[in-house]
C-alpha cells in the first residue's frame, strides 16, 4: 500500500551559515500515521548531523505530542484534513512547526497536569511535556500552529 505521507527534504551548505536541513511532511489526520511521520522527520532531519541521544529523544517526544494534538484535537480526526510538519535543522537549533486545519485553541486554557486534581486524569499531558522538553514554544494567533525550538547545545 502506498504511504499517504508526503515528504520533502532539502539540504543546504554555506561557509557563512554552515549546513542546514529542511524537512517538510504532510500527513492525513490519522493517528496511525504518527509513528511513521515521527520516524521519517527525525531520521531525515538529523541525518549526517551530530545529535545527542537526549536531543533525538526530545525531538521524537515533542513531535509525537504535537501531531497527536493536531490530529485528535485540531482536526478532530477528520481524515479529509491534513497536518503539515516543517522541521529545520541549523547549526545551533532545531525548529519544528506543526500546523493543522482546525479552528485553533487557546493554549492558556489547558489545565496544569501536575495539579493534584489533574494528576489522576488520563489526558492533558502532551502540551506540558512539549513545554518541558524544548527551549521555546510559540503558537500562531489562530492557535492551529505550534512552533517548537530545541537548542542543540
Amino acid at each position: 500500500m502506498t504511504s499517504p505521507l508526503r515528504l520533502c527534504v532539502r539540504r543546504t551548505s554555506s561557509e557563512a551559515r554552515g549546513s542546514a536541513t529542511l524537512v517538510t511532511l504532510r500527513l492525513p489526520s490519522d493517528v496511525n500515521c504518527i509513528e511513521e511521520a515521527v520516524e521519517l522527520v527525525t531520521r531525515h532531519c538529523l541525518a549526517g548531523h551530530d545529535a545527542t541521544r537526549t536531543i533525538r529523544f526530545r525531538l521524537r517526544v515533542v513531535l509525537s505530542e504535537a501531531l497527536s494534538n493536531a490530529i485528535m484535537r485540531g482536526n478532530a480526526e477528520d481524515h479529509t484534513k491534513w497536518v503539515e510538519i516543517r522541521a529545520e535543522l541549523v547549526p545551533e537549533a532545531i525548529r519544528v512547526s506543526v500546523t493543522d486545519e482546525g479552528p485553533g485553541f487557546d493554549p492558556g486554557t489547558v489545565p496544569e497536569p501536575l495539579r493534584p486534581d489533574q494528576l489522576d486524569e488520563a489526558g492533558g499531558r502532551g502540551l506540558y511535556l512539549i513545554r518541558k522538553l524544548v527551549d521555546v514554544v510559540q503558537f500562531n494567533e489562530q492557535g492551529n500552529s505550534i512552533c517548537m525550538i530545541l537548542r542543540r547545545s
Binding site: N32, E35, S64, P113, L119, E121, G126, Y128, L129, L133
Partner: protein, 111 residues
C-alpha cells in the same frame, strides 16, 4: 510491536510492551487489562524492558488502567523503564502515582 501476556507461578499477570505504547495502540492495552480483570485477575505487572517509547496518550492509558485495577481492589506495578522513559514519568509526576521497579523480578517480589 504489541503486547504479550503471561501468568507464572506467582499468580501475577505480566504484560510485556514490545516497541511502543502510543496513541495508536493504547486501547489494545486497556482492553487487554480489562479482559484480565473480567477473568478475575487482580495482580498485574506492566513491563517496559522492551519498550522504546511511551507518549502522553500511553501515559494516560496507564493512569486509566491503574484506576480500574484499584476500583476492583487489585494492584498494578510497572517495571523496566529506561532512563528516557523514566524521565517522562518524573516530568509528569506519574512516578508518584505508580509503584515502579527497575526489573520485573523486583516487581514480582513486591506484591
Amino acid at each position: 510491536m504489541g503486547f504479550s501476556q503471561t501468568k507464572g507461578s506467582s499468580g501475577v499477570v505480566v504484560v510485556q510492551v514490545d516497541g511502543q505504547l502510543i496513541v495508536g495502540n493504547r486501547h489494545e492495552l486497556k482492553d487487554l487489562v480489562q479482559a484480565a480483570l473480567d477473568r478475575g485477575e487482580r495482580r498485574m505487572l506492566v513491563d517496559f524492558s522492551r519498550t522504546g517509547y511511551i507518549d502522553s496518550s500511553g501515559l494516560g492509558a496507564l493512569v486509566s488502567i491503574s484506576k480500574r485495577i484499584r476500583e476492583v481492589g487489585g494492584e498494578l506495578r510497572l517495571s523496566g523503564l529506561n532512563d528516557d522513559l523514566r524521565s517522562l514519568f518524573e516530568l509528569t509526576k506519574l512516578d508518584t502515582l505508580f509503584a515502579i521497579t527497575e526489573t520485573p523480578e523486583q516487581a514480582l517480589t513486591s506484591f
